[in-house]
Amino acid sequence: MRATLLAFALLLSTAARAEEAKPAPALPADAESCLMCHDKGGGAPEVDFKAFPGSVHGQAEVGCTDCHAGYKEGPHEGELPALSAAEQATVARLAKGAWGEGEAKHGVTAPRAYLACQSCHTTEADAFAKSVHGKWLAQDTKAPGATCASCHGSPHSIPAKLAEYAPKDGKRVPVPADRREMTKRCEACHGNEAFAEAAGLNPEAVITYHDSIHGRLTRVGNAAAPTCVSCHAAAADAGGTHAIVSKTDPASTVSAANKKQACARCHAGATDTFAGLVAHKPLHETGGSVIPHIVHVAFSWLTTLTLLFFAFHVLVDFIYELRTRLAKKGGHGPSADAVRSVIRFDLHQRIQHWFMLSGVILLGITGWPLRGAGDAEAATYSRAFMKVFGGAEGAATWHRVGAVLIIISAAYHLFYLTFLASKKRLPLSMLPVPKDALDMRDNILFMMGVKKERPKFDRYMYLEKFDYWAVFWGIVMMVGTGFIFWFPVWFASWAPGWLITAAQIIHGEEATLAILFLFTVHFYNVHLKPSIFPMNWAWLNGRISIEAMKHEHPLEYDRLKDEQNG
């Protein structure tokens, strides 16, 4: 016991000595007198002296009075050197400025110190003075604009020089993490509705960015997904991020004439149509036509009504199944008809279904996390889930693999049908007929207990026909629109903008419909229905029991029996 205590004591004393041995972060030589008033509890505006030595300015041994020029023992009124008229005007404007750090908002407490930035950062300060962010320092504007601290944070704690980031034409250059982090500072002003309105900015710029494909890709961790500076910063040799100008300025990277070049930084060959697709507007308002809006409304109704109807169908069916199960008396074990079976789906059909199901599930689990990333909280889960596929870029590759799988399934099915037609064996049992509508009505009424008899179904009942034709519709919609995203620049080189916007809307809406329908309605009907659970084995072995056929497809059973009897 004593040995253990001794060991602990030695360990702790060593750690303490190691702590003592670390050199204390050095403050500037002239800081001691400043500390007396500006440290915590000193009475004067507080300065974070702990962060300063580790900051880029602390590392460069910038002293307090290098920026706070002329400051002596204080109180400072009266001891400061006189400023020129222009400097006085700038300082007066700076004094009205503010900057944000997370939720906290800080007023500019030492406006004169900002005059010193240009002493060392002359190029940046010159570019900033001409930029849209610096305009307010030279002329009256609707609201105070940005200061250095608005983007870089407190000059006392700027951590390090930002990583180099210079987008190159046609190459998707990953955006460094510190630049991504900086986006939050853009959002502090551009995402602040009250400030944006006061300053005459688009109050929805941040919301529409996060809703866009760029914003969603950023949220799920795509390293090359563009942030604000990817599009809005001038070329590095023209001032970069410090030289951002208004989009109405012909020199702006996102002016009407230049926007396609900004897009071409990532999308080689981008055209004006392509550039028009990203506009910090809701998706259905881009594309320069009313068609995307009509498509948006129509597909929202289609999706909602379809899901509402089938959710109701599942609910009625589930209650009926439970009632039937409870009313059922103990039987005599499985009958011979439950054991005997016939082939319902041949091997070709099963292979087509396997391709289809693996493709659709892959598409769903790699696509919906991206769509759901429009919601900030859901995006956290999307990002974590996409790591299963190797991150956002990996998930994108797997999404395309899923697309190829369903294309193979569709092509296989069409060849299969053509082959059957050539042999004059094309079955027409899947064609919708008026009886299906009546069957649907009568079946629902039966399950609700209004009708006494269940309608008699043939080889395919209305639900199976809906599943089948919905896949045809879905393949055309999803593959057609998916190809547009796969090769967006090429499509935009000849197709109108509204077509691409409409395709984007359809892809998202149809994904919602398809995934929710398949995972709730289809899975219920073939897997989760109490009488079927855990599954209808036909998707694996292609067989249906005679008992199930008699119960679910009595017309087919009768016909087969008649054929057998000659």
Binding site: P282, H284, H296, V297, F299, S300, W301, T303, T304, L307, L308, A311, P334, A338, V339, R340, S341, I361, I365, W368, G372, G374, D375, E377, A378, Y381, F385, G508, E509, T512, I515, L516, F519, T520, F523, Y524, H527, L528, F533, P534, M535, W537, L540, R543, S545
Partner: protein, 102 residues
Amino acid sequence: MAQNKLPSLIGAGIGLALFLAIALLPALLYGGYAGLLLAGGIVGTPVQPTLLVRGLIVFGMGLGVVGVASLFAVAGAAAGAAVGAILTIAGRRPVAQEQSSR
């Protein structure tokens, strides 16, 4: 034709337990967001918190939970069926070997 349901049932149970452990919250979020997007198309954007909008969001959350839970249950059942089939085949081999050695 008669299938041994037990492995599939165990698999479905494990799938559902896994769903409750890791996917319930995201399913609620994704479903609610889907409902919000649908509401945006039906009542127009920006959406206001009306009864219809709230109803659509709750409907979306319900479908999200049922849909993702179904996926976990079905994947679990399929995995269970596969394990069951492998165990059945593995169980048969020694019998066949035994018979051939006689």
